[in-house]
């Protein structure tokens, strides 16, 4: 399994507790449109991602991330820094 796939799976696992509607997750799933998260849910989820990968995702970065795929890419990039 590629590193990216592993990251995707981990991200999907962390999304699960916040996926109240049971949306099927793909690269193009959006946090706001598909998962319908409000800003507090986003904060809790971002904290979970940050703790898991020991990274920091600033609000500036968060504003650019709309889909699960974009988040996985961002995590991959931040992990190597």
């Amino acid at each position: 399994m590629s590193d990216r796939q592993q990251t995707f799976d981990k991200v999907a696992e962390l999304i699960a507790p916040f996926n109240k509607k049971g949306v099927t997750l793909g690269e193009a799933t959006t946090f706001q449109g598909d998962l319908e998260w409000d800003s507090l849910t986003v904060m809790d989820f971002v904290a979970a991602i940050e703790d898991e990968f020991d990274i920091l995702i600033t609000m500036n970065m968060q504003a650019e991330i709309e889909t699960v795929g974009q988040l996985v890419d961002a995590v991959e990039k931040l992990k190597t820094q």
Partner: protein, 407 residues
């Protein structure tokens, strides 16, 4: 010639959901909580609303300075001597005698070497945060921060990091992940105004210093009655000299309008040369800065008012708790007492029942409130008499029982 123009897309149509929500609220037969008009204001604690004498319990007028005879006289004198307005920026023609005077009063009040006055508290946060934190720097803010702090971040070019409300541990963890060499500004508030809870500033400032951050504290809701000199929560928690910048406002305890930042930083004056919300706006009218100056000087010695304000806060908090209301804080931590309600319907019904009974409080709802809470915010005033406080408690009992918020 063919007409190739298309009709302009109506930019106002994005507000349709807001318009519909407001209409639905008004159609339910209640008074619009966000369109109250004070027809007369009789004192810091009494106004006439819809022809009815009403006790004010939602005004931020914590120290009741708005009708202080010395304060009012200073404003009248300034109007006579300096006219109604300044017509210009502080940087050009907008600095009059009393702008300098009020900045000196702030230095004296806070015991700090630097003071800069802005046209509102909102602009003080907007200006200080966006100017202090530049490209490549980090601003670290509490998730429950006031809109002016969030907007200060948006206006600037720094990287923004949020931590969980009042969590020292979360702040520590996030600061630990930031580049050690980067410039970092931690922004905190002494009192968070929606629930009236206070920040554990002592621990937070210690964590911020451990990670090499500068600290800005917004003390808008604490000036005049926290700490031995009324400087705010930071003074109350023994942090004199530990906080780099303190932001405040004239619109609450001081009783007029305006904002400020005070600091001991030796280069603080440079803010005046670089801060756009300071430079590109007209300065406060002379009557406003004259009233603020007198009010601030009187607040230094307002020990009796301070004691009475805290007594009022305790009495109200205890009374509402005994009745069975759920409040924003377990103990009377500040002069804001938030009554938490189940939903918008109950909050509006309760708010309306109080208003009809002659009491004005603030109704607050998301997104201004944290965690989707609907609440009625009471701000206590040092000028509320003990008799008014007991009347207020009776009104709350009646309204709470009428809408089923208490048994």
């Amino acid at each position: 010639m063919t007409d190739t123009t298309t009709p302009a897309r109506d930019l106002m149509s994005k507000f349709d959901p807001l318009i519909a929500e407001r209409q639905a609220l008004i159609d339910s037969g209640v008074t619009d909580p966000f369109a109250i008009v004070m027809e007369q204001v009789k004192s810091p604690t009494e106004a006439v609303i819809k022809g009815k004498d009403t006790i004010l319990l939602g005004t931020y007028n914590y120290m009741g300075m708005t009708f202080d005879p010395d304060v009012v006289q200073a404003g009248k004198d300034a109007l006579d001597q300096f006219g109604s307005g300044t017509n210009g920026s502080r940087m050009l023609n907008g600095t009059f005698r009393d702008h300098v005077g009020v900045e000196q009063a702030l230095r004296d009040f806070y015991g700090m070497s630097g003071a800069i006055v802005f046209s509102t508290g909102y602009m003080a946060n907007l200006g200080m945060i966006s100017t202090l934190a530049g490209k490549g720097d980090y601003v670290i803010l509490d998730a429950d921060s006031h809109a002016s702090i969030y907007d200060g971040c948006k206006q600037g070019v720094a990287e923004i990091v949020r931590f969980r409300h009042n969590s020292v541990e979360d702040l520590d963890k996030r600061l630990g992940r930031l580049p050690a060499e980067a410039g970092k500004l931690v922004v905190l508030e002494g009192v968070y105004s929606m629930l009236g809870d206070i920040a554990p500033l002592k621990d937070m400032v210690a964590v911020a210093k451990k990670h090499g951050c500068m600290v800005l504290v917004d003390e808008a809701h604490s000036m005049g009655f926290f700490g031995p000199n009324g400087r705010g929560v930071y003074e109350d928690q023994g942090l004199e000299g530990e906080v780099d910048f303190v932001v405040g406002t004239f619109s609450k305890s001081v009783g007029t309008v305006g904002g400020f930042c005070v600091s001991n930083h030796p280069k603080f004056e440079a803010i005046r040369l670089a801060c756009r919300p300071y430079i590109f706006t007209a300065s406060l009218p002379p009557s406003v800065v004259a009233t603020a100056e007198v009010s601030i000087r009187k607040l230094m010695h307002a020990h009796n008012k301070r004691a009475h304000l805290w007594e009022n806060a305790r009495t109200l908090h205890n009374g509402l708790t005994e009745m069975g209301f759920t409040l924003g804080t377990k103990t009377p931590d500040s002069a804001v007492i938030a009554v938490l309600l189940d939903d918008q319907e109950q909050a509006v019904a309760m708010w309306q029942a109080l208003l009809d009974g002659g009491l004005y409080v603030n109704m607050a709802r998301p997104p201004a409130t944290p965690a989707g809470i609907f609440l009625l915010r009471c701000s206590v005033c040092a000028e509320h008499s003990s008799a008014q406080i007991s009347t207020i408690l009776k009104m709350f009992r009646a309204a709470g029982q009428a809408v089923g918020a208490i048994g």
